[in-house]
Chain length 135, copies 2
């Protein structure tokens, strides 16, 4: 298993979820949704990688642990996120997250109230949308 | 604010919750229980520090990010926990956690299904119970 020196939790395997542009890695840390009504995964995005626009019926919290990335909610400009940042994604808010072109980014993703349903995936973030993050 | 070099998230202020033996620090990272039905705190235990026996009606997940500590469930031997470990504490399971005598320990505590109620606190972990962890 490939791991980064700075990564506390395992980097995991190459992420095969088809709603990502570029290369990412996923290691689930907690999946007992029955007892905890949440799931926790460690996600690493390689430079340039991002996920599609999507939303979570029960919300999600991101704890950024390494590198530098983007977070954007529909209708708002993207923001730079980095190690130590906590992102609160309220239920049904359409958004995406990923690395910048110049840095990997790792975050712990806590999907909350998962009994309300799985993520709802939309279109990929286009190269134009991604380039606009720097403006 | 005093912070450790290795700590990704802020160490926060000295923890004034009266259910701890020794010195600890607490920084809440997410408190919007209304939207997410959980809360997230970063807790650092100095050497020898531990919390009282307690349980959580909605459960709790610990993500250990630094150092070495103990985790013990009632009726079972204590186990050593260290950076990278994930501890699943099921609802109503009586337990405690803390540092070892030789190391600080930092974990992210994700209190899940907090709408079921706050932690239920019991007696302190005695010096004898604490010393028994090494056996």
């Amino acid at each position: 298993m490939e791991t980064s020196q700075k990564t506390i939790f395992p980097k995991g395997k190459k992420n095969e979820i088809p709603y990502f542009t570029g290369i990412s890695y996923l290691q689930m840390l907690m999946t007992d949704e029955k007892n905890f009504d949440c799931s926790i995964g460690n996600v690493t995005f390689e430079k340039g990688c991002r996920n599609n626009w999507h939303s979570h019926p029960g919300g999600q919290i991101l704890l950024v642990t390494d590198g530098e990335g983007y977070y954007q909610e529909k209708g708002n400009p993207a923001r730079i996120i980095k190690a130590g940042d906590v992102i609160e994604i309220k239920p049904d808010v359409i958004h995406w997250h990923g690395a910048t072109p110049r840095s990997e980014m790792t975050h712990i993703a806590i999907s909350t109230r998962t009994s309300l349903g799985p993520a709802v995936w939309g279109a990929p973030v286009t190269d134009e949308e991604y380039k606009n993050c720097e403006q």
